[in-house]
Amino acid sequence: MEATVALLLNFAIPAVIVTAIFIALLLFALPREVRTIFKREVKSYFNSPIAYVCVVIFLLISNGITFWFGGLLESGEASLYVSYFQYLPWYFVVVAPAVGMRLWSEEQRLGTMELMLTMPIAPWHAIVGKYLAAGVVIFAMLVLSFPIVWVINYLGNPDNGVIMAGFVATFLTALCFLAVTSVVSAFTRSQIVALLISIGICLLLWLGGLQPVSQAVTSLKGGWLVFWPVLKFINGIGILPHFSELAKGVLGFRDIIFFLTFIAFCLFSTAVVLRVKRA
């Protein structure tokens, strides 16, 4: 009991409060239009089954795999990286596109994009507002996966700082996948197409950073003429190395910059796609 209280006081409550304050500050710093769109989108997510379905499926799979597949209990280690965080981005390869697939495809299908973009706002207001709302759904998933932290604290004496870093790394990775989905959804009015293509691209981004790919890049070194630069590029923007550094508790400035740049680039691309589509 004492351990639980301590955990709540020292870890969970501060973590949630800090993140919530961060999001609130971010919204406060942004123009009123962004907040209005953000509010509408968040309501819309939680009025429809999609957010709940995504959250529940995510929680079931992530916790299930941790115990059966990740061998949390057998490992005898008071850490979550190997059994939990290592797998999380794999789910988000699917879950983030599922959350984000409606971002712009739904607007195009309903025709509301025409309303939205003829209002006295800049397009980036809408892009950022909608994106942040989808980010809140991802955030809710991570907050609700808190019991796993409680379990590990109950069983042993983990470094909660590292666990926090794991959540931050996962959140940023999921946000990257969400940003990719935002671009893809701007291309099509079909949510299913947006979902499938986004999953494909996110998978590529995730796999691109895996060890075998990096090894292939070094060992081939310019072989396979055309294919090699492509491989090198995919390896270069692979998210995995940045994720694993962060998740292991190494708060590298470069990794954070990578994530933020990646997200900013995708949101900018969304604006470009929406603009080109109309021209």
Partner: protein, 316 residues
């Protein structure tokens, strides 16, 4: 309020709008007429800043729609074609959202929403979710959205589409009423609508303006404008026809129905003689002892003009 100069829009090779210019002042209601695919919606989308134009210039209330985008857009209320709505909101929430986005001051939002709901007869569905609304209500909800911030400029793409006759009548009156203080453009292919609520009309075909004027001016351009419709008995139709053709005012007689003892015909006036024509026919009838059952001047109908000048080739 709205100034459009040499506006063009290409989609790849296809020219959707070709060098259109017009202006709309405050207090004017401009009707956009044209067959489907003529470029009406494309033009309106450019005026509202949704589509960028390929060439030309658009200013709304003195602000360029591309260079001073936000200033220009904040003056406009827009009802897009097919009245799109966020289907997961209630009518009231949707209007509240639009009011916020349109920068209605926070303390006036309630009043603005109430007013828009009253104006568009939405009281009954106020708390209803948008995706359960009938087409007429959906349309009026979107119309309410366009007037919620009391804009100086209103752009309505087929505002009466999908409404029943009573609702159509209401919306036309609404447009006419609002037209006294705003600059309004609306598109339609219902011609009586133009006569009912426009102060000026433009006919567009294949991206070009092919007629521009008040509804009366346009009607006068119709082929049968000024013709006299006559139904008379007392002589055989051929005889009446001969007598009519002798008149100096008559250019031709278009026989619609003939019998042993009478005629139904459209009498076309000679150029510049249309004012004298009815009188001349009446005099003729009196002198020949004809019984006149019907004698009226045809005004020329907009749909006639519309059909004449927008007769598009079927292959495109």
């Amino acid at each position: 309020m709205i100034e459009v100069k040499n506006l063009s829009k290409h989609f790849g090779e296809k020219v959707a709008v070709d060098n259109i210019s017009f202006t709309v002042e405050k207090g004017e209601v401009l009707g956009f007429l044209g067959p489907n695919g003529a470029g009406k919606s494309t033009t309106m989308r450019m005026v509202t800043g949704y589509l960028p134009c390929s060439a030309g210039e658009i200013t709304v209330g003195g602000a360029d729609i591309l260079d001073e985008e936000i200033a220009a857009k904040s003056k406009i209320g827009y009802l897009p074609e097919n009245a799109p709505l966020y289907s997961d909101m209630t009518v009231e929430d949707f209007l509240r959202f639009c009011a916020e986005m349109r920068r209605v001051p926070a303390d006036q939002i309630d009043a603005a929403v109430d007013k828009a709901i009253d104006t568009c007869f939405l009281q009954r569905v106020r708390q209803q979710s948008v995706d359960t609304l009938s087409k007429g209500f959906r349309h009026r909800t979107c119309l309410a959205q366009s007037i919620i911030h009391d804009p100086e400029v209103l752009i309505l793409d087929e505002p009466t589409d999908g409404l029943d006759p009573n609702q159509k009548h209401e919306v036309r009156n609404l447009i006419k009423r609002m037209g006294e203080t705003k600059a309004i453009i609306f598109s339609t292919h219902i011609l009586e609508e133009v006569e009912a609520s426009c102060s000026r009309a433009i006919i567009i075909d294949r991206g070009r303006i092919i007629a521009d004027g008040t509804p009366d001016q346009l009607k006068a351009k119709a082929r049968n404008a000024g013709a006299v419709f006559l139904r008379a008995t007392g002589l055989a139709s051929s005889g009446i026809r001969q007598e009519l053709e002798k008149l100096a005012e008559v250019q031709g007689v278009n026989v619609l129905e003939s019998s042993e003892n009478g005629i139904t015909a459209r009498v076309l006036p000679n150029k510049g003689k249309d004012k004298q024509l009815p009188e001349a026919i009446f005099q003729l009838a009196v002198s020949k002892g004809l019984k006149v059952h019907e004698l009226r001047v045809e005004e020329g109908r907009l749909d006639e003009l519309f059909r004449e000048i927008t007769r598009t080739d079927t292959e495109d």
